[in-house]
């Protein structure tokens, strides 16, 4: 741990950020691959199917919310217990993860299936897209327990000291999905249903592998029969820890619903489909920045704790520089190559045109986004969550939601894309202001005593 205070900051950043970037990018590619294949379903179905897929995004956010409700808390507890070599409790937490995922996964499946059509309508489905959306969602929901269990065990595996295994499981799922997609969508002619089947099958394979690994008694953390009994303390603690990631995903769900509904009201299915494309593309870049942030966190945190502010700022500045390069790349792609990118997803001229316009507007402020994202996480790394929450809230809710309601009234569907760009600019200004306002937090009285 002390190397965090002494080794060159640039080297540390590389070492800590690379694994996170790989994991983050892999999971965003997963969604992208699905969209690309679905977009190329023939007979004019592709663009509508892409729209239907965008309508199911809020479901995916909700699923992720319930997944992290169990997963984040449990993996935090597992790593704490492993730090104490308390394998017995770690095993009990693992067993509880499995049970909780079963219960929550089943409940989510049943409730969603009962209200599926009305929920999809609420999420922005039209008469033309609801058929595809419900075909897709039904299969995803039948496999919901598998998805939850796979994600839960994967993060447990990461916490249990096997980050590589977790990464291989992710990569295995992504590759399997990419291979099975064309088979089920085109060869078997199942269309959008085929994409859902491929997704679930890929997860079944990875889950089977993870289950086999966790069943081996030679691993310190493995399944024991009596560990599956729900423990009141473990359940309560892991739900409490998982509450904020849950809220975060739930809020993302609300925003997606807003965007879809505004697009459907002022435009149509093609605009929703265009959002599906833009979202997938920008998401990849955002995930890379999230990976960078994860790498910065221990370095900035430790050195802040050790009162070595020069190293804290060096870590922050290097991360900002890398993040801005990444988001500027998104800007370049969005401004100069939008047609090329859109054509990866669709051949349809109308959808291509709409996607190009959307991408041009939505990515205009992206060079600034890297800065805002890093600053928000920077405060979190230093154990200053209030500033971090404030920045995240402004960027993703306080600015975006009202703009999403107001701007489309004047600019139609363009207003939705403007809302994203304007809130990015406002968030950047806010980040600079918050950084300035808090600068006295970075001066310590005991600075001179801690020079060693």
């Amino acid at each position: 741990m002390k190397e965090l205070g002494t080794a060159p900051v640039g080297k540390l950043l590389k070492q800590y950020a690379l694994p996170s970037i790989v994991a983050m990018t892999a999971s965003s590619l997963y969604n992208m691959v699905d969209s690309i294949f679905i977009g190329h379903i023939g007979g004019n179905v592709g663009p509508l199917a892409l729209g239907a897929l965008a309508v199911t995004f809020p479901f995916m956010n909700l699923g992720a919310a319930f997944g992290s409700l169990v997963g984040v808390g449990a993996s935090t507890m597992i790593s704490v217990k492993l730090g104490q070599k308390d394998y017995d409790t770690a095993r009990r937490v693992l067993g509880n993860v499995v049970m909780l995922n079963l219960i929550i996964g089943m409940a989510f499946m049943i409730l969603s299936l009962i209200f599926l059509d009305s929920l999809l309508r609420f999420f922005g489905a039209s008469d033309a897209t609801i058929g595809y959306a419900s075909d897709y969602m039904k299969i995803i929901l039948y496999g919901n327990v598998v998805t939850h269990m796979y994600l839960g065990l994967n993060s447990a595996s990461r916490a249990a000291g096997s980050p590589n295994r977790a990464m291989y499981a992710t990569i295995l799922t992504v590759c399997l999905n990419a291979c099975l997609d064309p088979l089920f969508i085109f060869t078997f002619g199942l269309g959008i249903k085929g994409a859902a089947i491929a997704t679930i099958l890929a997860q079944v394979v990875s889950l089977t592998w993870l289950l086999a690994v966790f069943s081996k008694p030679e691993h310190e953390v493995h399944f024991v029969r009596k560990s599956f009994r729900l423990d009141r303390h473990i359940v309560r603690k892991s739900l409490a820890i998982g509450m904020s990631p849950f809220m975060m995903n739930a809020a993302a769900c609300i925003i997606t619903i807003f965007i879809n509904r505004e697009l459907l009201t002022y435009g149509g299915d093609m605009d929703v489909a265009a959002y599906g494309i833009v979202n997938r593309v920008l998401f990849v870049f955002a995930m890379i920045v999230l990976g960078l942030n994860q790498g910065m966190q221990p370095i900035a945190g430790y050195n802040y704790g050790a009162r070595q502010m020069d190293r804290v700022f060096e870590a922050r500045n290097k991360t900002i520089l890398s993040a801005v390069i990444v988001t500027s790349l998104a800007f370049v792609v969005g401004e100069f190559l939008p047609a090329m990118v859109a054509n990866v997803f669709t051949d349809d001229p109308v959808l291509t045109e709409k996607s190009v316009r959307a991408m041009r507007i939505a990515s205009i402020a992206w060079p600034l986004v890297g800065y805002s994202m890093v600053i928000s996480n920077f405060f979190q790394s230093l154990g200053l969550p209030k500033q971090s929450i404030f920045l995240s809230l402004t960027r993703q809710i306080i600015y975006l939601l009202p703009l999403l309601v107001v701007l489309p009234r004047f600019f139609g569907t363009d207003g939705v894309w403007y809302a994203m760009a304007v809130s990015d600019v406002l968030a950047f200004i806010t980040s600079v202001a918050v950084m300035q306002y808090n600068r006295k937090k970075f001066v310590f009285n005991d600075m001179c005593n801690s020079a060693d």
Partner: protein, 206 residues
Amino acid sequence: MILSIGRQLGAGGLEVGKQISERTGMRLYDGELLDEAARESGLSRDCFKRVDEQSHHGLGIGIFGMRFPFFSEGSSVNGGALSGDELFKIQSETIKKLADENRERGCIFIGRCANYVLRDDSDMRSVFLTASNEDRIKRVSGRFGCSAEEAQEMMKKIDHQRTAYFDYYASRTWGKASSYHICLNTSVLGMERCINIIIENLLQIK
């Protein structure tokens, strides 16, 4: 011999620890533990002080994101170098190290889940101290110079924090007899007898 003292606020844990240390020569670690942990890790003492015997894992805190902000922009699961979890790990390694260093002379740890951290150490003995409400209020108001009401308020708050801390990190119940080797009530038995019981019976020092 290593002694771990768990205690309600105002039950006289620190006094008992000091007395035993004076009579037996065992080293006493209370707040000094934090200095040691800070020195070991290279982090500032303030970091440890901030999370000392507290667990930021309540439901309300969970919602408002002490660990995770609403939209954690890539916050890692374990919350980085300054999270309570990471600091607890450093602190427990320090406890183990101090227990090893002071094995001949013996040492006393007050609170901080030492009985859990050292659960596999055959030299470790643990005690939990309670006292009557009146005695606790008297002790707390004397020590912090506050009124009886304020003392009562403080007892409630600190004991609540200690419960959350112990239950989370030690995965057992704070103040429950089965979590310790013996439990003593300093009001019923008196300080002197408690000290004797611990020295003669629990630690079996002649």
